[in-house]
């Protein structure tokens, strides 16, 4: 019995103490948690506005692609949409970020935050466009016809009849895209945005401990993603109202 207790004291407690010391050094000492929290705020800030931008551009591209496939006169818009989606989806977001920051916004006055939001928004929009288009096409075409037969315009039928049903269908896929986007922003450090990942790197540069700051960061991402998943689940249930039988 005593042996076990000794072993416990020597190995496990020492081990735990080491972890605590590392954590203390990486997170609490000298108020380092402020760096994480400030970084985390930036991560959320960039993600939030990138999601909004992505949905707006994605929706426009999706509707353009959908209508142009059914209207020969608008064929050129369909081609532009396809080109846009192909280029954005076909290149790594890391490369896009560097190109946008160092080549397009070359003037030093442009805030890297704005660049980050534009880059991730544009990148996300290509995926969102395809998700929304698939969602629109999954809605029975009789719905659009019914709207038009009542005298609604194509746009009115789209916004008040087709899109609400499409959004319900695509919410899981869209939520997935949001989650991917939040995690992808971890590379914004490369254009000097001090997001939470960058903050962790900074801390480990001071403490010479790589693991602990990264674990702390990983937990922060995980918490946000879990909360977002719960939130999306709530919306899915609300939108499923019409499915009750």
């Amino acid at each position: 019995m005593e042996q076990i207790l000794n072993w416990f004291n020597e190995k496990v407690l020492v081990w735990l103490e080491g972890i605590w010391n590392n954590f203390h050094r990486a997170f609490i000492e000298k108020g380092r948690y402020i760096a994480y929290i400030d970084g985390f705020k930036l991560t959320l800030f960039v993600s939030f506005f990138a999601v909004i931008l992505g949905v707006i551009i994605g929706l426009i591209v999706a509707v353009l692609k959908y209508t142009s496939a059914r209207n020969k006169r608008l064929k050129i818009f369909g081609m532009i949409s396809n080109l846009y989606i192909t280029i954005i989806r076909g290149t790594p977001v890391y490369v896009q970020l560097l190109i946008i920051y160092y080549v397009i916004f070359t003037s030093r006055g442009t805030s890297p935050l704005v660049v980050a939001i534009i880059c991730f928004g544009v990148n996300s929009s290509a995926y969102v466009a395809e998700i929304i288009r698939a969602g629109i096409e999954a809605v029975d075409k009789g719905q659009m016809e019914a709207g038009k037969s009542l005298g609604l315009s194509g746009i009115q039928s789209m916004t008040s009849i087709v899109l609400p049903q499409a959004i319900k269908n695509i919410l899981p896929a869209l939520g997935n895209e949001f989650i991917v986007l939040i995690k992808e922003t971890a590379i914004v450090g490369v254009i000097a945005v001090n997001d939470v990942t960058k903050a962790a790197q900074n801390v480990s540069g001071i403490t010479y401990d790589l693991l602990t700051p990264l674990i702390i960061t990983a937990v922060m991402y995980l918490v946000v993603v879990v909360l977002l998943t719960k939130l999306l689940g709530y919306f899915e249930r609300r939108l499923a109202q019409g499915d009750r039988r």
Partner: protein, 241 residues
């Protein structure tokens, strides 16, 4: 009221409607019958430009509607109610919102007026208690009656029915046909594509027989069913009656 002149419609190489000339007067109840693939649904869908004709003209209240676009076209469609085989109710809206959506969106009525009108109509078809429910909670017959009410809420001049009972369980067909009969008695101009010969005989003021994209024969219901002339019609009637 509706004048069709030399109407042609093709889907690719498939020539569905061939040089159709037809006149539908106010108050008429025109029933269109024929084998599947004869073009009767396409003809009906051309009347409110759900399908754009390949050539020919359609006049609605003396206005050539084949040339209209955008706002004019939408305004024209408001005057033509349409009922579909698969109901096409909006599953994400309550029954009441299904009915009031178009009148409110198009600013024809205030929300309050539209809802009052909707409740009146629901009362007429005996479905007031369903106002707050969603389409999926209704039976097929109830859905189709709601679809008819939704079209009526726009105060249409003419109602187009595209096989309104074909997707229904046999026991639900009666309630929908009863409502359509009621509409006919009230004087609504109706164009009905159907396989319900009993309805054609009882309610129709004129019955058209379509085959291979043409109107082959038309007559009053009595003559149509009792002394058909065209051999294709005779063959058709011998199979369905």
């Amino acid at each position: 009221m509706i004048d069709v002149k030399k109407l042609n419609k093709s889907f690719g190489d498939n020539h569905v409607l061939k040089d159709i000339d037809e006149h539908i007067s106010r108050g008429e109840k025109v029933v269109i019958v024929g084998p599947s693939g004869s073009g009767k649904s396409t003809f009906l869908r051309c009347l409110n430009l759900m399908e754009i004709p390949s050539s020919g003209d359609i006049f609605f209240e003396d206005k050539n509607i084949t040339k209209t676009k955008g706002k004019q076209l939408n305004a024209m469609r408001q005057k033509m109610g349409m009922v579909f085989q698969h109901f096409n109710l909006f599953p994400h809206l309550t029954i009441l919102d299904n009915i009031t959506l178009a009148p409110i969106k198009l600013k024809l009525m205030s929300k309050k007026q539209a809802q009052e009108k909707a409740m009146q109509l629901l009362k007429r078809v005996g479905l007031v208690d369903k106002a707050k429910q969603y389409p999926n909670q209704l039976s097929g017959g109830q859905k189709q009656r709601i679809a008819i009410v939704r079209a009526l809420a726009m105060n249409p001049q003419v109602m187009l029915f595209d096989e309104p009972t074909s997707a229904l369980d046999p026991e639900m067909v009666g309630e929908v046909l009863d409502l359509m009969k009621q509409l006919a008695i009230d004087g609504m101009t109706m164009v009905v594509v159907t396989h319900e010969m009993g309805f054609a005989r009882e309610v129709g003021s004129r019955v058209l027989f379509m085959d291979e994209g043409r109107i082959v024969e038309q007559n009053t219901p009595k003559e149509f069913f009792d002394s058909p002339q065209n051999p294709r019609l005779k063959d058709f009637l011998s199979k369905v009656l």
